[in-house]
Subunit: 281 residues, 2 copies
């Protein structure tokens, strides 16, 4: 198979959105990638039982379940509903053996009050933490690029995520660090080192393209300006031994391509940055 | 004329890019806007002498000259050339009575080394500082939104800008704070207060649209998710008495519209956030 050790490598399903979950499992495993990050809509389509059976049969491990429901509702009923939805998602994560739910927490609300949204994020996570702990699933806090603060997430700095995890505790929560979202941050290295190896639940690879044509125009590793060797070096320094996950949102390019080709190129490009082998638990 | 006190209000020329500098001066003044931020390419086209004469005749004041040359060259010759170019721009700013050059410092270089680019930014500013001081023009450090780190600027946090200004000194440098670039930052309020009124040389208004269609899809005040009343409140708390400048990059909308209409709408939308009158020096 591959010249690379892929034992820590996962592909995030949103990278191959034309595939069903069944097709993604087969398509990844066929080329030797046995890690997958699962997205909810595909899991709902397949059904949890069928998914679990298929994942097991194909010897797949799950890096994460993507993503939580947004908690940026300014009305109490909507906010409560989002929390309930998140409990259901945590249950699903537990069922498929995902160590975390990737928490995408919603952008600034219709009240245009960023600080109010920060409070909602904090309160929602605090309320969900015991539920997640009981389920054996971590709340995976993913700081998203600041350009998503208007809609997807008002949690935009890795520093902010680390602060929240300090409050929530490392048993209930962890860090989902994505190079695409954090590469520009002068505090990225320092905050990865602050987090340490055990706080990082999964680590996303994706490149920043120049030019970037829209807000879903992320790049394959090697096609942009991100220094993967340098960033991988920081992770080795702290002894990080968790997953490396490729996640590409790409309306204009990768989402349109043949996904078998995407997986092949993903392996070639990510291969040098996902080894060496560390035994999975 | 307008129901609003526009004495502190300037329009940044990039908001009306179909107009020459002469047309912009006339177009703004005609509707009672006597502040302008000038862009280099238009100034070069018009010539400094003619521009000065026209600005004076139309009773215009200049908020800033946009922008510096990027200093992200990885070769020594290119880097030196950019510094020389920046000296020329500082001279132009002095000539037209601009209190600052807006420093857009270049994104990560071809070496993909963010920290090397941070050093280049630091070193370039340090070298230019005495020249700027002698010219009576401030280096206006503008943190750009992190989505521009790949090309336009690797200075992306207002905290980073304040740190640099601490080093350069408030005589040589100042802060150009743009709501569009900083609104998402949990430290925005705190860093404006850290800066204080005298460090802020000009303050940009622009809204963040949801959805944002590309990286030049900025919005008119009121059309997006930014809370202008809240942010203006922070500036009043610190006693800020400088310019408020509307700057909109908008390939798909405002750049295509009739610019007289743009100025009219700009006044209606920005009017509530640019008063009360404080005498200009």
């Amino acid at each position: 198979m591959s010249q690379f050790d892929l034992s820590r490598f996962a592909i995030n399903q949103i990278t191959t959105p034309k595939w069903t979950l069944a097709e993604a499992i087969e398509g990844y495993a066929r080329q030797g990638v046995h890690g997958i990050a699962v997205w909810r809509q595909y899991l709902d389509d397949y059904g949890v039982k069928a998914a679990v059976k298929h994942l097991h049969a194909a010897d797949m491990w799950v890096a994460s379940l993507c993503t939580s429901a947004w908690v940026n509702q300014t009305d109490a009923a909507g906010y409560r509903q989002a929390l309930d939805e998140n409990r259901r998602i945590i249950d699903q994560a537990a069922a498929i053996g995902a160590p975390c739910v990737v928490m995408v927490v919603g952008g600034v609300g219709s009240d245009k009050d960023l600080y109010a949204q920060h409070r909602r994020i904090h309160d929602a996570l605090e309320e969900l933490a015991p539920y997640a702990t009981a389920a054996g699933v971590k709340l995976g806090l993913e700081p998203l690029h600041p350009m998503y603060c208007g809609d997807r997430s008002a949690l935009n700095l890795i520093t902010h995520a680390n602060d929240l995890i300090d409050e929530l505790g490392d048993k209930a929560s962890g860090l989902v660090a994505d190079v695409y979202h954090c590469w520009w941050d002068p505090n990225f290295e320092q905050q990865l080192k602050r987090a340490g190896k055990d706080r990082i639940v999964t680590f996303h690879y994706c490149d920043w393209l120049v030019p970037t044509r829209n807000l879903r125009d992320r790049g394959m590793v090697g096609d942009g300006v991100v220094n993967f060797a340098q960033i991988r070096g920081w992770l080795d320094e702290i002894g990080y031994d968790g997953p490396f996950e490729l996640e590409i949102f790409s309306e204009l390019d990768w989402w349109e391509r043949d996904h078998h080709e995407t997986v092949q190129i993903a392996i070639e490009r990510c291969g040098p940055y996902v080894g060496p082998r560390i035994a999975r638990p």
